[in-house]
Amino acid sequence: MSTVEKTPSQWRVYRSYHSPFDPCSPRTRYFNVPPNVLQPFQTSARKQFAPHEALRKGTLWPEYYSPYPPETRGGEAE
């Protein structure tokens, strides 16, 4: 697989108030801000994935690639 240039993180972190009487241990929470939200209009002359890789990833454009599972959270995961 080709390497994607380091793009700004698509993950945001938040915490909610945790009382000492809450039954479960506190959890840092994350939500995804996908690239279509960060950059809602395509510009021209951009980098592309190789055709086969694009078919597998679901997009031709590295800047619009949004990997999901937690391990791809770029070191921010719990």
Binding site: N32, P34, P35, N36, V37, P40, F41, Q42, L55, R56, K57, G58, T59, Y64, Y65, S66, P67, Y68, P69, P70
Partner: protein
């Protein structure tokens, strides 16, 4: 308007299932007959396109058609996960109520068993209202894929679901662009 569909007897993206996990079928059915599932998406877009400005019709046709391709991928996953399951296994997976009504057939309902309904979708006849609904629908479908991915450790299923999730990202992008195109309609009007 003339629309032509060409049916190719293969999936948009290969679907492989490596783990016998009928419980996952119960979750996947959310994207089959759920409010933010692929059936809702396909029917919403293919219906809205009749009353949307010309420049955006093609986009709704493209994406609506692709949603049917996604529907087939989900159907394939559900089918593979349930076709060899015994009634006992289906019961253990929480699918006994599905089984008594539908046997091993698929049906359009969500993960909690609510049947699909047209009230899940809308055509307001107002281009901006319709496109904002479409953007919201894509973000909700993206989130649904996230929560399904969180609930399986089958790497092959995850691979297909990640593909489907990325397509929702791309669809949302293209609907956002369609809104920009509609804004342009106003500025070109000034030329007259």
């Amino acid at each position: 308007m003339k629309a032509i569909w060409i049916y190719e007897k293969k999936l948009q993206y290969p679907v492989r299932v490596s783990k016998c996990d009928p419980k996952l079928a119960k979750m996947l059915i959310e994207q089959y007959g759920g409010a933010d599932g692929e059936l809702s998406a396909a029917l919403r877009y293919l219906n809205q396109r009749y009353s949307i400005p010309d420049k955006v019709i093609g986009l709704l046709t493209d994406i609506g058609t692709e949603e049917f391709a996604h529907l087939e991928m989900i159907a394939t996953m559900v089918y593979k996960l349930t076709k060899d399951a015994t009634p006992e296994q289906l019961r253990a997976a929480g699918l006994a109520d599905h089984y008594v009504n539908h046997g091993h057939a698929l049906f359009y309902h969500d993960a909690a068993g609510n049947p699909w309904t047209a009230t899940y979708i809308q055509a307001k006849g107002d281009p901006i209202a319709d496109l904002y609904e479409d953007i919201a629908a894509e973000e909700k479908a993206r989130a649904t894929y996230q929560w399904i991915i969180d609930n399986t450790d089958d790497p092959d299923i995850v691979d297909s679901l990640r593909f489907l999730r990325e397509r929702e990202v791309v669809h949302s992008l293209r609907f956002r662009e369609a809104v920009e195109i509609l804004k342009e309609y106003n500025s070109t009007k000034k030329m007259f």
